[in-house]
């Protein structure tokens, strides 16, 4: 996308280079496949048509070269909604109650997008991979470490592609910032800390229209005690992982991705202090220690679901020469320069950063002008993109199926992040610091 200070061609070249650099650095990226049928549209099914399924659908409907052929959901209300909505969009799909019926009924599927509740991710993903279908699975990979590990193992044994939905890994702004600013320009200097957060205001539990009740037998068949648990599965142990896995998963993954290593320990505090009908923690505060050769960098993460205060959702990397605050929302992103840092003029000239306002730079001679206190220098990332937040990550997945890309977040890479997210919940329960070895984060 064109921005004020970077041309479309420059941007394409820059982000492509950023992506390529990351691919080389990643090392263990899943190998691209050979396009099985050049020019043919990929047949895609969506498993799970809840809130996240609807978000992904909006991207699936505008990505070129794919055909949504089926939607799966155990809730007939959701299936009917999907059919009606897609008909308005001019898309005819077949609907199924579960993934087994899907795989029995659809014999020409190239990809399945999994957006059902976390505790179904591993069974659905493993079955699809074993049926020879590539899978894009929403994070968390699973509600258990064992489930996530099984998905990596199935990916390896089948040779099919398994992309995990940490969509920031394909976000051009994130790719640019990591490759050009953090790695190439070392804009933060030596990284000493990171901080991320995502807070949400109190909300009523999800309900359901009276006419849309699922029979108890069906609920039990799919692992739910009742409709309340079905609609609010994220809050229940055995089904989801609470706010740390719902919101924290995205951002703790950025800690691992941008630091380039896994933490050696985690300590955390949290509790079920507010809601009376939930099992997972309302609020959580987590500290990871990332061991670098020149010293430890600590990363603090907070997710509160009893207040939305705190300035929105972002990940901030802090060093001795600058801080880089990233968010999916560009308005929440900024770069701050430490007074001791070398000049950033060259970075401005190269369109790597853009000054929000002329920085205060008094002349170093005998004169001085006195006026209002100058603002601290702040800079923008001059990159934007004209797509929905999940679209580039889905496109990366489909391009990988066609043999035109490598996955930006294959399951084995995602496992390293998701392992330490599970450990944060474990640290809260244990009430103590938990050490994490380099070997245990490997699937």
């Amino acid at each position: 996308m064109v921005t004020n200070s970077i041309t479309r061609r420059d941007f394409m070249r820059t982000t492509a280079a950023a992506g390529a650099g990351l691919l080389l650095a990643g090392g263990t990226r899943a190998l691209a496949q050979i396009d099985p049928a050049p020019g043919k549209k990929l047949n895609v099914a969506l498993v799970g048509f809840g809130a996240q399924g609807r978000v992904l659908l909006e991207s699936l409907l505008i990505i070129e070269g794919i055909q949504l052929v089926a939607v799966v959901d155990i809730w007939d209300y959701a299936r009917t909604y999907a059919e009606k909505y897609l008909k308005k969009m001019g898309v005819e799909v077949r609907t199924y109650e579960n993934y087994e019926d899907l795989l029995a009924g659809e014999k020409d599927l190239q990809a399945v997008v999994v957006a059902c509740p976390d505790f179904w991710h591993a069974p659905v993903t493993n079955a699809c991979l074993n049926a020879g279908v590539n899978v894009y699975c929403e994070k968390m990979m699973s509600n258990t470490i064992e489930g996530a590990r099984s998905m990596v193992q199935t990916m390896r044994s089948t040779g099919k592609l398994l992309q995990i939905g940490h969509q920031r890994r394909s976000n051009p702004r994130y790719l640019f910032a990591l490759s050009r600013l953090l790695h190439e320009a070392k804009i933060c200097g030596r990284l000493t800390a990171a901080q991320a957060q995502w807070n949400r205001a109190v909300a009523e539990d999800f309900g359901w229209p009276k006419k849309a009740v699922i029979p108890p037998g069906t609920l039990a068949k799919y692992g739910y005690k009742d409709m309340h648990q079905f609609r609010n599965w994220r809050w229940f142990k055995g089904l989801g992982g609470g706010p740390l896995s719902d919101l924290g998963a995205h951002q703790i993954d950025i800690f691992n991705w941008w630091f380039g290593i896994s933490p050696r320990s985690v300590m955390a505090s949290g509790g079920v202090d507010y809601y009376k009908t939930h099992e997972w923690y309302d609020n959580a505060m987590v500290i990871y220690e990332y061991p670098f050769p020149d010293g430890v960098a600590r990363a603090f993460y907070q997710v509160q679901t009893t207040t939305s205060a705190g300035g929105g959702y972002f990940e901030m990397f802090m060093g001795d020469e600058g801080s880089l605050k990233m968010s999916e929302d560009p308005k929440l992103s900024a770069i701050y320069r430490e007074a001791r840092a070398p000049s950033w003029d060259a970075l401005i000239s190269k369109n790597y950063i853009r000054a929000q306002a002329a920085p205060y730079a008094p002349a170093a001679d005998t004169k001085v002008d006195v006026r209002e206190t100058a603002q601290l220098a702040a800079f923008d990332i001059p990159v934007s993109f004209n797509k929905k937040p999940h679209q580039p990550h889905l496109e990366n997945f489909f391009n990988a199926i066609r043999g035109k890309a490598k996955l930006n977040c294959p399951a084995d890479e995602a496992f390293r992040s998701e392992y330490v997210i599970h450990k944060a919940n474990e640290a809260i329960a244990a009430g103590r610091r938990i050490d994490i070895s380099a070997s245990e984060v490997e699937a």
Binding site: E58, Y85, E204, F206, W208, E328, N386
Partner: protein, 284 residues
Amino acid sequence: MDPARPNERPPMIHVHNHYAMATTFQVRIAGEEATYAAQAARALFDEVDRLENLLSRFRASSDISAIARLAPGETLRIGEDTCACLAIAREMETATEGAFSITAAARQTQPEPPRWTLDAARRTIHCETGALEFDLGAIGKGFALDRMAVELAEWECPAFLLIAGGSSILAGDPPPDLPGWSVGLGDEGSEPRHWLKQGSLSGSGIAVKGRHILDPRTGAPAKLRDRAWAGAPSAAVSDALSTAFMVLPEPDIVRLMTGRAEWQACLQDAGQWRVIGPAPAAIQ
């Protein structure tokens, strides 16, 4: 309840508030169990948040922001909600002969209104000229109210009143034992009161933001009157109409409303009130 005393709220009305689209949305549901009404309200607020992500020009990943970044000659696929909202906007631009337009603000930075075409069947928008800097401020909230009502129908809560920032309201059935929802035109507690049911009412004016409404045909601030209200079955339509009525001379309003029995206009100039058009069934 006496409509002259609107503050006497019947006991079975459940009220829930939510911040979205730079204002406060309120849902009032009558005649339902409290928890059920609260969960229905949450579903409606989720719908508003979803629409804001698509329609806000202040959200970088919204459809409206993506459309604003189109260069002349480019085409973009958009979602059903955005397409439906833009279709209504285009329809109302035609119906008001340009007195309402979502490119009114763009006239301040562009010499000519940007031109665009919408392909509703393919869900695409094409930028012909200029930059499509749409501002849905005068229609987006009403569109959200309409979509909230669709969602509420799924919950089978017929007696409701939906409010967006006080300037647009959409009523379903009245509360039990009442002929409608008590509505006044103007400031809190204004007289006379009216009963509203199964319809929408929107207001525009200078009381809060000054003369912020721009005439899309000239790009200049609207100066004809102080306040205008519009009634219509749809909140998106009444939202667009009340804005248009701020810039249209009265004879033009009368002419445009000919044959539009479902529309109503109320104008206020220097303290003088005039109602134009037949009072629709929604407002008694």
